[in-house]
């Protein structure tokens, strides 16, 4: 009698939803290995511990739920910045709308070009950090991405990049179901900034693997567009070498379902990582999940997780953050804060902060709070003549500000503040 294996069935259904890509033999092998991983773990389901607070159905059903296109006259994010602009439309690279793939001290290729060749660094990166990140927690959507994603960029910074690369993800089809996979290598001593903006597709699955070599710096700032109906699952896998710096910040407003996972591993001593984000959600359809896993496996490293969410009209925010300090990772300084600001009684913030520490000489702190606007502060501001709505906005922005302050670049930070302020103002009508 044939026994059906639900894990195989569900993961095969996911894999069957996408074409199998070509490439060099090594790349095909990596994809096959990722597909095998996916079959082993199965598709994500709500009963999995790691999906307890977020229902993954929207990420796994076929066809992808459609999402209405969103139109706005506002200046696209990062447009005012001197950068190399690279455009993806519904997850497909659009050379016409993009700048040339040239930047001093940086090699830029499309992923498919990179995977069709025998490039040493790409071989060592593609699927590797994703695969490492599958332990101890399964991340099936990332395995799926490695198995089938054909689109993306392979970026290698060999020195200081004179300006950022800004990837813009446009959403132009209501039924688009996109997979994008980037690999980024920042060589020893190199500095590189990557900006991402836009919704990507009706359903968007992105994986970025980032290898930050010794003494290198990687800065990443991302905004995920204003589309209301989009679904987005992102994974960022980072490996940090000796004395390296990794900073990532994400602003999310709107969207039905967002899960941003960040998986970082310190492999060299004296490195620093910050991962932070602000999200703003309005309405019971809004569900936003930040899931972070930081592994300290070297000495004297510092990690910070700073996440703030403002939620109204029944919106839901989730934070799952873990700091794992291995036995030899002495002098680790780990910090984690997640806070939800609920603007009404119907909204929810669910947090699961975790510390797992095996070293005995570390500083680790974590905090998680959920609260409402402080009435005393609101009264103080209004008693000076500030209109109540404006006073409330000031307090919301002040709350989100602690996360925005993690952004190194003042102009970009101000741009993020402005967008969030506008988001609040639009809700006064």
């Amino acid at each position: 009698m044939a026994v059906s294996n639900p894990k195989f069935d569900a993961s095969d259904a996911l894999l069957a939803g996408f074409d199998s890509p070509d490439g060099a033999k090594w790349a095909v092998d990596k994809r096959a290995s990722a597909a095998a991983n996916l079959r082993r773990m199965g598709a994500p389901v709500k009963r999995h511990e790691y999906w307890k607070y977020t229902n993954p159905t929207g990420f796994t059903i076929f066809p992808a739920p459609s999402a209405a296109l969103f139109h706005t006259d506002e200046t696209p994010m990062f447009d005012a910045i001197d950068r190399v602009k690279l455009v993806f439309v519904d997850g497909v690279f659009d050379a016409e709308q993009s700048d040339d793939l040239t930047l001093e001290n940086v090699q830029i290729e499309t992923l498919s070009d990179s995977l069709s060749k025998d490039i040493h660094w790409a071989k060592e990166l593609f699927g590797v950090l994703e695969n490492n990140g599958q332990t101890p927690v399964d991340r099936p959507l990332a395995a799926l991405n490695t198995a089938v994603a054909q689109e993306g960029l392979a970026i290698r910074a060999t020195g200081h990049a004179p300006k950022p690369i800004a990837i813009r993800y446009l959403h132009s089809s209501e039924t688009s179901d996109a997979m994008v996979h980037h690999i980024v290598k920042v060589d020893e001593g190199a500095h590189f900034t990557l900006l991402e903006s836009g919704p990507g597709a009706a359903r968007f699955n992105s994986v970025m693997e980032v290898d930050v070599a010794d003494k290198a710096q990687f800065h990443h700032i991302r905004t995920q567009g204003r589309d209301h109906e989009r679904r987005t699952a992102t994974h960022m896998f980072g490996r940090l070498g000796l004395e390296s710096i990794f900073r990532s910040f994400t602003m999310t407003v709107n969207g039905i379902l967002t899960r941003n996972e960040t998986v970082l591993e310190f492999t060299g001593d004296n490195a620093k990582a910050t991962v932070g984000g602000t999200s703003a959600g309005d309405g019971k359809e809004f569900h936003h999940d930040d899931t972070v896993f930081v592994t300290h496996d070297s000495v004297d490293c510092e990690s910070r997780q700073v996440f703030k969410k403002v939620l109204r009209n029944g919106a839901t925010g989730v934070f799952q953050g873990k700091i794992l300090v291995k036995a030899d990772a002495q002098k680790t300084d780990g910090y984690q804060i997640s806070q939800g600001l609920l603007l009404d009684d119907n909204s929810n913030f669910l947090a699961k902060p975790e510390l797992e520490i095996y070293a005995d000489d570390v500083i680790c702190s974590h905090g998680s709070t959920v609260g409402a606007i402080d009435d005393d502060a609101l009264f103080y501001l209004t008693s000076r003549g500030v209109h109540k709505k404006q006073a409330q906005d000031m307090l919301v922005l002040a709350f989100l500000g602690e996360a925005i302050d993690e952004i190194d670049d003042d102009a970009i930070a101000q741009g993020i503040r402005d967008r969030l302020e506008q988001w609040m103002e639009r809700r006064h009508a």
Partner: protein, 251 residues
């Protein structure tokens, strides 16, 4: 200008009456002081005038130049010319002192149909006024009241008052937590705003502040009512004899 008639106020959350029929008239340019034992309702009155939540007005009226204060939102009361200097100014992390002050000044100007101050005009004015109160540039840049000492917080209140130019200033125990020098500085700040039209209501426990801010009328409040009013000599009497005699006298 400030007319309070038979004002009765209770707590919203519990069945407790705090103000039991307060009557008070403060004319233009006058300085009135309210003294009284702890729990007599002095601070409640200042909060109710400014529009703080949590209180329920069960009777009476309060108006400023004929406008019904009790019917207005806190920001409308501010725009109408009322200012409350807080006993415990609130710390607001993440909101810059200058940003807050400029937003407040311009919100009030807008509400009154006056042109908003440009960044340059505002900066010039705030710097001059801050200097007189010995508030340095660093304090202006910091988040509202965060990390301020007790004296700095009170000076910051007076700076806000100077910038907002209210018609009616209510000072709720502005002397609490201040050393003698700081109190003098704050009093000088208040006196500088006395122009013959602006009125003041000074709530205090101690006569000492009234040496620096000379009142025209002193009221004694007890158990939610004003039980006695008189000249500055009334404050001296309290300082010398405490409230016991006065309370006995009325009882």
């Amino acid at each position: 200008m400030l007319e309070i008639k038979n004002l009765q106020v209770g707590l919203e959350e519990e069945d407790k009456q705090i103000l039991k029929g307060v009557n008070l008239n403060i004319g233009a340019g006058e300085v009135h002081a309210i003294m009284g034992p702890n729990g007599s309702g002095k601070s409640t009155m200042s909060y109710v005038l400014a529009g703080k939540g949590g209180y329920e007005v069960t009777g009476g009226t309060a108006s400023l130049y004929g406008d019904d204060l009790l019917d207005m939102e806190p920001e409308e009361r501010a725009a109408a010319g009322l200012f409350l200097a807080f006993q415990y100014p609130v710390e607001i992390p993440g909101v810059g002192n200058m940003t807050f002050l400029r937003t407040a000044v311009n919100a009030q100007r807008k509400a009154r149909g006056e042109p908003e101050l440009t960044a340059g005009e505002f900066l010039k004015e705030v710097r001059a006024k801050a200097k007189a109160l010995k508030i340095d540039a660093d304090m202006l840049k910091r988040p509202v009241n965060v990390g301020f000492s007790g004296g700095e917080k009170k000076r910051n209140e007076i700076l806000q008052m100077a910038m907002l130019e209210p018609k009616m200033c209510v000072l709720d125990e502005t002397d609490s937590g201040l050393d003698v020098d700081a109190m003098k500085l704050v009093a000088e700040g208040v006196n500088a705003l006395r122009d013959g039209k602006r009125s003041f209501l000074v709530i205090t426990h101690y006569q000492r502040l009234l040496d620096h801010i000379k009142p025209d009328v002193v009221h004694i409040m007890s158990d939610g009512k004003i039980i006695k009013s008189g000249g500055p000599e009334l404050a001296l009497e309290v300082e010398n004899n405490g409230y016991a005699d006065l309370l006995a006298e009325v009882a």
